[in-house]
């Protein structure tokens, strides 16, 4: 397997191949496809009439209505557009942790690769932003096989060095995402505070459909250490020599509180939040995620 396909696990792709990735809301699109567009234009499905105002395209005037009622109305159609999917991937140094087969970054990158592949297969446009304290890599939205290749290579080449600064990242993203679309955030949120999560609210206000994959290692959730250990911070400086069993309970309480805060914030901002363990199979995670999204869409 070439390095660029490292995160595109065949079993993961096979598991979600039969599913359709659909946006939850109407997004702006420039390609015809299966996604509903918030804009009215040339399409086969009529939606409504609107009284003509100066500046409207004369081609959209319904002349039959003018003949019967002598009033100018224009016809509005629902237009299907392609999805503009933005993947935001955390590449801070805390993402390098992982005692299992996949580090948090490996896991997040795999999920990102799978989603990108699926979207590109549906002729959707996919963009990628890799960040730590600021956006390091930015691939504009494109479709096609070349874009997929670019995404894969960007994922592989990324080095994990700096700390996370989500507030700055959200600010950058808001400025560069003029059109509404699907924003997928893959991060561990370590080093972020509640203020940082307000960036998600801004994205929501801009009309983006936001999905958060909160990637956590099993060790971080279970803290299974027993022997005396000197913990050396990856993203934080400093170290702590301790008996882990003595601190375990307090640690788990803190983590639980952190997860709860994050989940509540996402819920408040109507962000689709998913806490993911790195030990959980990627294909299962994606399958569960997409199935939930489909069910939610059908309800609407």
């Amino acid at each position: 397997m070439p390095a660029s396909k490292k995160y595109l696990l065949p079993e993961a792709i096979a598991a979600i191949g039969s599913l359709e990735l659909r946006a939850q809301r109407i997004v702006n699109g420039f390609l015809s496809g299966m996604h509903r567009s918030p804009y009215f234009g040339q399409s086969v499905e009529f939606v409504q009439h609107r009284e003509y105002v100066a500046g409207d395209d004369l081609r959209h005037i319904d002349w039959k209505v003018w003949g019967r009622q002598d009033r100018l109305y224009i016809k509005q159609y629902e237009e299907d557009t392609n999805l503009r999917c933005s993947i935001l991937l955390d590449a801070s140094s805390s993402m390098e942790y992982g005692r299992g087969p996949l580090s948090k970054y490996d896991y997040a990158a795999t999920v990102a690769a799978c989603l990108a592949y699926l979207a590109l297969k549906q002729q959707d446009a996919v963009g990628l932003s890799v960040f730590d304290d600021r956006v390091r890599i930015r691939l504009p939205w494109r479709s096609g096989r070349k874009q997929a290749q670019s995404i894969y290579e960007s994922l592989v080449q990324q080095k994990l060095t700096d700390r996370t600064n989500l507030a700055q990242v959200f600010k950058d993203v808001q400025q560069s995402f003029p059109k509404r679309g699907l924003v997928v955030l893959l991060t561990d949120f370590l080093g972020s505070d509640a203020q940082s999560l307000r960036g998600l609210a801004s994205l929501r206000r801009a009309g983006h459909d936001c999905i958060v994959f909160h990637i956590m290692d099993d060790d971080e959730l279970d803290f299974p250490f027993n022997d005396p250990t000197r913990f050396e911070g990856i993203e934080f400086s400093g170290s702590l020599a301790c008996n882990p069993r003595a601190l375990r309970e307090g640690y788990l309480e803190s983590v639980q509180k952190f997860l709860e805060t994050t989940r509540r914030s996402c819920a408040a901002y109507e962000v689709d939040y998913h806490l993911v363990r790195t030990s959980h199979p990627v294909e299962a995670t994606l399958t569960a995620f997409l199935a939930a999204r489909m069910a939610h869409l059908r309800k609407r």
Binding site: E96, Y97, D188, T229, G233, A241, R248, G250
Partner: protein, 825 residues
């Protein structure tokens, strides 16, 4: 602090183990890069003090658990004072068990010793029934009086060794001595005494004094307990008639708040006959020469005995084909000798009977005498070892040309022909004495100086050294002696310097106990000449065969010339020779005198040996004695007597260490010791490696007091024969015998009556119990057991440890879900 197993107290070092593990763990922190550091630091900040406190408590608890565990294993006995603060005490039963030989007296239901154990066991069981906790310590007299080897070898007197033992006993660790040390009694106490009962009594005359002192030291260190001291003995008169020292010891125990109970195991006075001693006469011990053995028998009972028969047996070790006999008294070939019948033996009377034995070959042989069964079996057999040589060498010094005197002595001592006296005579001049090394002279069993006018200074020194080391010398004037010769010899033999040639002795004083003054002639024509010239023997072993006869064998002996003597004295004034007698203050014993009361022969002890002085020359011109048949008897007896002081002991005490040295060129260094392990005829052997002694000599040492079997604490303190089997490089196996006889004093079975005993111990508050009367409840029982308290404390500490460990999150949860952060579905 004192423990039953003192050596286990080192286990308290284990208390440091948790601390050590903690420190090691601190050094062995594994490194872990960690992303979620913020939560960890938060937890640490929140729990820092509690974590430290819990860890410190956990560490201390674990250390305490180990300390209590070790205290339990080592059986802490001196903490009762601590428990007493809690209102609890332990009843500690100190059982002092007399296991001396007299406790082996047989009864219809066993021995006194077994009766005593049953009695104590019943007492303890009754105490248990009263409730409370009890500990018991059992100390046997013989173990308390653990005899140091250096003492036992030097001493032949049992009472003397006991005194020495007492002095040393305090330095001996109580844990090593006590058979049972501060053991808690939880059930019936029978099992406690099983091993002690199996081992039984020992054939020793041991005092209880070391045991009293040992308990005293234990009580001094103990505290908070209620001590009861049981003295289990047979209370014989020999020890308890005037128990001043015992009373003082018991008073010390009472001062330490100990209750004292006397458990009397003895029964009514019973009959017992003791074989007191069996020794050969002081004569030559040589192969083929009859040896006269003297057997002393004492009636220890209260009634006269009639026609008492004593069996005598000679065990011949001449054969080189002998094998070890493990089920017999001796491995030698037994030859029954004619029995000795004593027609009448009054109570308390001791009679001595002689009997003759001949061994045709040299070697180490055994002769034993035995009685039929009576109350005390151990003193019914006695034995002695006869180490016979082919012949013993006698040196005769004669400076005369014709050596007449030497010829007379030789004819008497070694006549030649078929007559075998066991002596091999060598005649030399006084120059031989001068020029010989001490080793050369030591090769002679005795020396006769029969004709010399002058002795070289070096010759005198050699003689002094020879005698001081156990040799025997007989000195007679020369035929041609004048007054000047007498003065010269007196001067030469009166040197009192202590410098020996080899520096091996340091005996001061003169070798010659008297001063020769002048040559005196008893005129035959005087009316009293017949009486004055006659010989009057004194009570001395040399003249013993000639005594108590209807017609004295010396009746025809006439001495017409002798040398007058004066006693040696420091101021040289001396006393008249006439005053010398058996009661004389000078260190000489009169052996025979003349009819005019002038000494004829004097016996002087010098160092370990004897110097016998004759005042008349062995010559017909001085007396007719050399031509008289009695001269032969006297010379043979004199030679044997003088040789006897260097002979090896024919028997030893039971506790004596066996030491035997031999040539490394003649024997292999591996020796096998055969000894008795019980009263029954059961013996076993032990390989004893020989150690180099220097000068191509090897030495074997075997200590019967040391545990032969460490597990059973089995010792070989029984009256028996002990055989040392050596492998000769040329003659196959050779046996050297040692005989350990029972102490005769232990045969005295007269007991002290209860009233006399209690009266002699007044005002001590002692309680007397007959061993058969143990029905009374024990009035001193109280309290609880120390070990149970420790066990409870241990359990409590373990629970606390678990709780702290749980609080310190040292226990992993049963399921992950219960403690880990859940992932929302």
């Amino acid at each position: 602090m004192q423990f039953v197993f003192q050596s286990l107290a080192w286990g308290f070092l284990l208390v440091l183990l948790p601390l050590l593990i903690h420190l090691i763990n601190m050094l062995r922190y594994r490194r872990q890069r960690w992303a979620a550091m913020q939560f960890l630091l938060e937890s640490y900040r929140r729990n820092k003090r509690w974590v430290w406190l819990k860890q410190a408590l956990l560490l201390l608890t674990r250390m305490a658990v180990l300390a209590v565990l070790v205290a339990m294993l080592a059986q802490w006995v001196s903490g009762a004072r601590l428990l007493s603060l809690l209102g609890q005490t332990v009843t500690h039963h100190y059982i002092l068990l007399d296991d001396s030989m007299s406790m082996g007296q047989t009864l219809p239901d066993g021995t006194l010793y077994q009766r005593g154990l049953r009695s104590v066991s019943n007492l303890l069981d009754r105490s248990l029934q009263d409730g409370g906790a009890h500990q018991v310590t059992v100390i046997r007299f013989s173990r308390a009086a653990k005899i140091p080897s250096s003492l036992s070898t030097a001493s032949s007197d049992s009472s003397g060794s006991t005194a020495a033992i007492n002095a040393k006993s305090n330095s001996i660790n109580a844990d090593e001595i006590a058979d049972v040390m501060s053991r808690s009694i939880l059930g019936k106490s029978d099992n406690l005494f099983n091993s002690i009962q199996t081992q039984g009594t020992v054939d020793l005359d041991v005092s209880g004094q070391p045991a009293y002192e040992l308990v005293q030291s234990l009580l001094t260190n103990a505290g908070g307990e209620t001590p009861i001291v049981y003295l289990v003995s047979d209370f014989r008169q020999k020890e308890w008639k005037q128990p001043a020292s015992i009373k003082a010891s018991l008073q010390s125990l009472e001062n330490l708040d100990a209750k004292i109970e006397l458990v009397d195991c003895s029964s009514q006075n019973i009959e017992n006959v003791t074989l007191i001693s069996l020794e050969p006469d002081q004569e030559v011990l040589a192969a083929g020469v009859p040896v006269i053995l003297r057997l002393a028998i004492k009636n220890q009972g209260a009634n006269p005995l009639r026609n008492l028969t004593v069996r005598t047996t000679a065990y011949d070790f001449s054969s080189t084909q002998l094998n070890i006999a493990f089920d017999q008294y001796s491995s030698g070939v037994p030859n029954e000798l004619p029995s000795i019948v004593i027609e009448n033996l009054e109570p308390g009377e001791t009679v001595t009977r002689g009997f003759q034995v001949v061994f045709p070959q040299s070697g180490s042989h055994v002769v034993s005498a035995s009685l039929g069964d009576d109350a005390l079996q151990a003193d019914n057999r006695i034995a002695c070892v006869l180490n016979l040589v082919e012949s013993q060498r006698l040196l005769i010094v004669d400076d005369s040309a014709n050596r007449t005197a030497a010829q007379y002595v030789r004819a008497a001592v070694d006549p030649g022909g078929k007559i075998k006296t066991g002596w091999q005579v060598q005649v030399e001049s006084s120059a031989f004495l001068r020029d010989s090394q001490s080793q050369t002279l030591n090769g002679f069993a005795s020396i006769f100086v029969v004709e010399t006018n002058s002795l070289d200074e070096r010759a005198v020194r050699n003689l002094r050294e020879y005698v001081s080391q156990g040799g025997g010398v007989a000195f007679f004037p020369g035929q041609g002696w004048t007054d000047a010769d007498a003065a010269r010899i007196t001067s030469q033999l009166s040197q009192s310097d202590s410098n020996s040639v080899s520096g091996q002795y340091n005996v001061k004083g003169a070798l010659l106990p008297i001063q020769f003054t002048k040559v005196t002639k008893i005129e035959s024509d005087s009316t009293a000449a017949d009486i004055q010239q006659s010989v009057v023997p004194e009570n001395h072993p040399v003249f013993a065969p000639l005594m108590n006869m209807a017609a004295s064998p010396l009746q025809f002996v006439r001495v017409n010339k002798y040398v007058s003597v004066l006693a040696q004295s420091e101021n040289s004034t001396g006393t008249d020779s006439q005053t010398i007698s058996a009661n004389s203050p000078i260190p000489a014993r009169l052996m025979a005198a003349l009819g005019n009361q002038a000494p004829l022969m004097l016996d002087h002890q010098f160092g370990d040996g004897r110097f016998v002085v004759g005042t008349s020359a062995i010559n017909p011109t001085w007396s007719n004695w050399p031509q008289d048949p009695s001269f032969v008897v006297v010379m043979l007896k004199l030679a044997g007597y003088l040789a006897s002081f260097r002979a090896t002991a024919t028997s030893q005490n039971v506790a004596d260490v066996v030491r035997y040295s031999f040539s490394a060129q003649d024997f292999l260094p591996d020796a096998e010791m055969v000894y008795s392990v019980g009263r029954e005829m059961t013996r076993q052997s032990l390989q004893v490696p020989a150690k180099p002694l220097g000068n191509r000599q090897l030495e074997v040492t075997w200590d019967p007091n040391r545990s032969i079997d460490a597990a059973a604490q089995q010792r070989s303190l029984f009256a028996s024969t002990r055989e040392l089997w050596l492998s000769s490089l040329s003659k196959g196996r050779q046996v050297t015998n040692f005989v350990a006889n029972a102490p005769a004093r232990e045969g005295e079975l007269q007991r002290v009556e209860k009233s006399d005993l209690l009266a002699s111990l007044r005002p001590l508050n002692v309680r007397y119990r007959s061993a058969e009367n143990t029905a009374d409840a024990n009035p001193f029982s109280t309290a609880s057991t120390q070990q149970n308290w420790l066990l409870g404390l241990l359990i409590l500490l373990l629970l606390v440890e678990q709780m702290i460990a749980y609080l310190a999150s040292y226990h992993l949860p049963k399921t992950k879900a219960s403690k880990t952060v859940g992932v929302p579905g």
